[in-house]
């Protein structure tokens, strides 16, 4: 149960009631109990094989063009907010996750998301990188952070708040050992300082994943994690790193180019609205009792 701001009166809305379609009209399927359980327990969650083969190919090609021939892309699409990647910003899986772990129900409507998008960048890594990506463990202990720190993770029976949340779209297959993102599972709830071993890549408590192309990994930035050098000479890592936050918080100044933003459907535009609370909703009146 969640309370509204007045005298302990319960909120009238649950995550399954808000924003049930994305900006393209695609239905949002609420997270299953298993997905909620696993994310809360682990701090990260893999959704394997979300994108179709044609979507993957189009997006992957776009990523290579972004890196190697950006001049072939219209200026306002020249980022991971643009081109075919735009549809990732409010993919139904992302909206389902945001509704459960980020959204304020009183800041959401049928035409307005209850959470914000923070940033987006491309990780195109190969074994030929002149400066290989380096292992760098960071974050953790999200339960011991005060509101205002975007790396906060909060939970109560049956509900949790993920704070700054990373959404990684893997557009190529990733096998264990290839160099996917690494996690210390459960460390978003850690109460203690990590031991020295956690600062080394071969520590036995680092976890990672394998997944087919078109999968998405969502993790709270409160969990201890790290990138690592890409190891597979037969394929590159082509990953789009997006991030989301609650409507009242802003971690970065990243935003799509204005020309792209103006062409987005109005509902998608609400992902990029300013960070504040009172009245920050479209499609219905601001009402914290919802």
């Amino acid at each position: 149960m969640k309370f509204n701001k007045d005298l302990g009166i319960p909120l009238a809305t649950t995550s399954a009631d808000i924003t049930q379609t994305n900006a393209d009209g695609k239905p949002v399927v609420p997270l299953t109990q298993e997905q909620k359980y696993l994310f809360d327990k682990n701090g990260w969650l893999l959704f394997p094989g979300v994108l179709t083969d044609s979507e993957i190919k189009e997006m992957r090609d776009f990523c290579y063009r972004l890196k190697h021939s950006p001049e072939t892309i219209p200026q306002h699409h020249r980022s991971t907010y643009g081109g075919p990647l735009e549809q990732l910003t409010d993919h139904p899986v992302v909206v389902a996750f945001g509704n459960e772990f980020l959204a304020s129900s009183y800041l959401a409507s049928d035409v307005c998301y209850g959470f914000r998008m923070e940033m987006s960048f491309l990780a195109l890594r190969s074994t030929k990188d002149e400066a290989p990506f380096t292992f760098h463990a960071h974050n953790g202990n999200g339960m011991l952070r005060m509101p205002g720190d975007c790396h906060q993770y909060a939970c109560l029976p049956g509900q949790a708040y993920s704070g700054l949340t990373r959404v990684v779209w893997e557009l190529n297959p990733v096998e264990k050992g290839d160099g996917g993102t690494m996690f210390i599972t459960g460390s978003h709830k850690a109460a203690y300082t990590a031991p020295d071993g956690a600062h080394t890549q071969d520590w036995e408590f680092w976890d990672t994943y394998s997944c087919p192309a078109g999968s998405v990994i969502i993790f709270t930035e409160a969990v201890t994690h790290s990138g690592q050098p890409w190891q597979n000479p037969d394929t590159d890592r082509v990953a789009v790193f997006n991030a989301y936050n609650s409507v009242d918080k802003r971690w970065s100044l990243s935003k799509p180019p204005q020309a792209l933003l103006e062409k987005m459907p109005p509902k998608r535009q609400t992902l990029f609205r300013d960070a504040y609370v009172k009245g920050n909703i479209t499609g219905t009146d601001f009402n914290m009792a919802l």
Binding site: Q33, E34, Y37, L38, A160, T185, S187, K189, Y192, T193
Partner: protein, 274 residues
């Protein structure tokens, strides 16, 4: 409790202490375990009986009794109970391949997943971190006397589940229909594979279960030592078992008021005097 142990127990809900019972201590303990297991039921000393587990196995021999306050466990026991420990129960588990049969229980809950939250209610058991220490009012230590290898079966745990705030889905694990007993392998659980001389510690809030013991030429032997705060509950050991215990163990078993510090707790290491 070392900082590394504290971090790992806090994050995962369990600890695996490797090779902490060694040499003669391990040999004598393993021999005592064998004696209990091979003893005909009608020849068991008073107080001992087999009801699923070999009851009160810790008290069968001093080499087993001393494990209740083993040097590797003692600082952990003291920390988790805020220096107010009570030893509540200590059975011996003897797991064999032919003890397992397919049945309704496996279909309903493959792996037999459970935890204190399920068994006793969400309000029953505490796990907290504060003042740089962990407090856990219901935990179990498993000293092992035989080896477990990957693929053998045995203890499974769901790391991090001791802090879960969402209900575990009832169908989290899927029964391997061909097997009829075990769940299909799933990354959600870890199969812990201790060797003889290792000790595994889990919070009772950690969701755990067991896989069928698969080897036909080896068995699995370990103690199940349960600890609680001294101010909560009381033991139910029968008199013949209490009569066998050393003064130090009797003090560890005893209930006591809040704040009372037992004499054994003042010791960095406990040695049984009798």
């Amino acid at each position: 409790m070392t900082p590394k142990q504290r971090y790992l127990f806090d994050v995962t809900g369990y600890l695996h202490l490797e090779n902490v019972i060694t040499g003669d201590a391990l040999a004598e303990a393993a021999e005592a375990v064998d004696r209990y297991i091979t003893c005909p039921p009608d020849a068991l000393p008073p107080g001992f009986e087999i009801q699923g587990l070999h009851q009160h196995g810790f008290a069968f021999d001093k080499s087993l009794e001393c494990l209740t306050s083993h040097a590797a466990l003692w600082p952990i026991i003291k920390e988790l109970t805020d220096n107010q420990p009570r030893f509540g129960r200590g059975s011996l588990k003897h797991d064999k391949h032919d003890l397992w049969e397919a049945g309704e229980r496996a279909k309903v809950n493959p792996g037999g997943l459970h935890c204190a939250r399920d068994d006793y209610g969400w309000y029953s058991t505490r796990y907290e971190a504060g003042n740089g220490r962990i407090y856990c009012d219901n935990f179990v230590c498993f000293p092992y006397f035989t080896d477990v290898y990957p693929g053998d079966g045995g203890l499974i745990v769901i790391p991090g589940s001791h802090k879960s705030e969402f209900d575990r889905p009832k169908e989290l694990l899927t029964l391997d229909e061909a097997d009829g007993i075990d769940p299909l392998d799933d990354p959600v659980f870890v199969n812990i594979t201790p060797k003889a001389g290792d000790i595994v510690i889990i919070s009772e809030l950690l969701t755990h279960g067991v896989l069928r013991w698969k080897p036909k030429d080896r068995d699995r032997r370990f103690l199940v030592l349960r600890y609680f705060p001294q101010f909560s509950g009381a033991h139910s050991f029968p008199e013949p078992i209490l009569d066998r215990l050393s003064p130090e163990t009797l003090e560890l078993v005893a209930s006591a008021p809040y704040g009372h510090i037992k004499e054994i707790v003042k010791q960095d290491a406990v040695t049984l005097t009798v």
